[in-house]
């Protein structure tokens, strides 16, 4: 069986997160020192070559993103850490920040050096007040020891809005506005926070940075899947024996995750489906579980790696009911800025409700598929574009379940 590979979580359980001395004796802040002895462009190049891609869901090459911001002349630039972990079934960023806050701060400071920013923000979701305290303690200790140099980090607490995980909505929220996504372009590396070049990366992405600077791009590029190297922290929920978090190389298969690490399905029941990447991810039937979890392999089966949430449902579950619940989620979390999402998520929920109550028809199912296509291409941000994915994938893979419920 495949084994865990704890890189991002290397200090988990080994250090006291509230003592910077512990992080230092585990080799902490050496990478920042090394990065600062390098030319900023060199740091960007190392990141690019490592092949690290964003761990928040979009999977964009981190070094490439940094390169855009590095290249722009501006009087001020910003580094923002997206800790608005709102994907249902996901708590990996909380685990990282709770247990090793400095690994995130160090990654952010390295980014600051690479792009020429001296101010960083961590946007932490309002559901994690304890994490906000841990981060503030860590920042104060790092400052006191002069470890961050001229780089400042401020923690901002979100207030319960799923859409703020979208980077431009997050930026709006830091600016004190309603968290509504912006039209793009321009993208944040060009014009982000207060219209200045801004790098927004996920907590897990920043947590990968120090080790890449320490051990080199080649080392990192050699781990896991070629096109999406490194590890991924996954959180296992639903009908699974072990509701745990794990960190595995990206060439691990879904089967190894669910049946190996997760210990399979409880009570001798059979596997029905797994939804990976959060609530906007596709539902994956048994025939695809030999797929590896890396971004591109998941894309090929019309699924996502996303945030790394792994939500398993067994054969006894009513998948139409689960998807109806998810449809309600998106109706609630749609920010309302663009009509295709505001109206679309409401209509998807209405149609799903009708089908779930046994009052729907085949025409409703067909309408859902059509509506999904419209939303995927017409919605302003990822929330609306991906919202119909659970609906479409379950219609495609579990059409019989819908058929059984319609008149």
């Amino acid at each position: 069986m495949a084994e865990e590979l704890r890189l991002v979580l290397k200090n988990f359980g080994k250090i006291n997160p509230l003592k910077v001395e512990d992080y230092l004796s585990a080799g902490g802040y050496k990478s920042l020192e090394k990065a600062r002895s390098m030319n900023p462009l060199e740091v960007v190049e190392v990141m690019k070559k490592s092949g690290l891609r964003g761990r928040g869901g979009a999977g964009f090459n981190t070094g490439q993103k940094w390169f855009f911001a590095h290249n722009i002349q501006a009087d001020e630039k910003f580094v923002v850490c997206n800790a608005d972990e709102g994907e249902p079934g996901t708590y990996k960023d909380r685990i990282i920040m709770e247990n090793d806050p400095h690994i995130v701060l160090e990654g952010m400071a390295i980014c600051g050096h690479a792009i020429g920013a001296t101010q960083g923000y961590i946007y932490c979701r309002g559901e994690y007040p304890g994490v906000v305290d841990t981060l503030n303690t860590a920042i104060a200790q790092a400052k006191e020891k002069g470890l961050l140099g001229d780089f400042n980090i401020e923690v901002r607490m979100g207030a319960g809005a799923y859409v703020c995980g979208e980077e431009t909505a997050l930026i709006e929220s830091i600016e004190g506005n309603r968290g509504e996504p912006r039209f793009r372009p321009p993208y944040p590396p060009v014009a982000g926070l207060w219209q200045k070049p801004t790098i927004v990366n996920n907590v897990e992405t920043f947590a990968n940075v120090a080790q890449i600077i320490e051990k080199g791009a080649e080392w990192f590029a050699g781990i896991g899947a070629k096109s999406f190297p490194g590890t991924k922290v996954l959180t296992l929920t639903g009908d699974i024996n072990k509701k745990i978090f794990i960190e595995v190389p990206t060439d691990t298969t879904i089967k190894e995750v669910v049946f190996g690490f997760g210990g399979g399905i409880p009570d001798g029941k059979k596997f029905k489906a797994v939804q990976i990447g959060g609530t906007s991810g596709g539902f994956i039937p048994e025939e695809f579980i030999e797929t590896t979890i890396d971004f591109d392999s998941m894309r090929k089966i019309e699924a996502t790696l996303g945030s790394g949430a792994v939500f398993v449902i067994d054969e006894t579950r009513d998948i139409v009911d689960v998807v109806t619940r998810i449809a309600k989620f998106f109706e609630h979390e749609s920010c309302g800025k663009c009509a295709p999402c505001r109206e679309g998520t409401m209509r998807v929920h209405l149609l799903m409700d009708r089908i779930n109550d046994g009052k729907g028809s085949q025409a409703d199912v067909a309408l859902l598929k059509k509506l999904s296509r419209v939303m995927a291409s017409a919605c302003l941000c990822g929330l609306g574009q991906a919202a119909p994915t659970p609906v479409v994938t379950t219609i495609n893979h579990f059409g019989m379940d819908y058929h059984a419920k319609v008149q």
Binding site: E85, G86, E87, P88, G89, T90, Y91, R94, R125, G126, E127, Y128, P129, R156, M157, G158, A159, G160, A161, Y162, S173, I174, E175, G176, N177, R178, G179, E180, W194, T235, T237, G238, D239, K243, I244, F245, Q275, T279, A309, F311, I313, R317, V322, R325, I326, F329, H332, E333, C335
Partner: protein, 148 residues
Amino acid sequence: MAEFKEIIMPFKNTPGGIIQAFHAVQKKINYLPENAIIDAAEVFGIPVKEAYGVATFYSYFSIKPRGKYIIRICESAPCHVAGAAEIIASLERELGIKIGETTGDGKFTMELTECVGQCQATPVITINGKPYAGVTPQQVAEILAEYE
């Protein structure tokens, strides 16, 4: 109301600080009264409608009075399949109120929430931010007793 200004003023020079100011107000009284929103608009130099827009956008902010303890029940998919509906029923029975309501003594308010990121055991509820994971209907009374 001078009391709200006092809470809001320290954030005046924080760029985008209105959300932090609202958090601070709610820490004191668990909701955002109209006067607090008007005061915030004045302190941050923005129209009242904009301050109101911010206050009503985020689910953690409430413009209606709430109880001393806010119970949030997660109804995201992992909690949904783990029996969140039974926890809601049990809480409603114990407290004699429905989702969105506050007990007569002003002690508890029940709200639905989406995932709070404590999915290591489901279903999950939080009371004033403190998470309880893997809650059973039988445990509900016991948990509420902590807040007597």
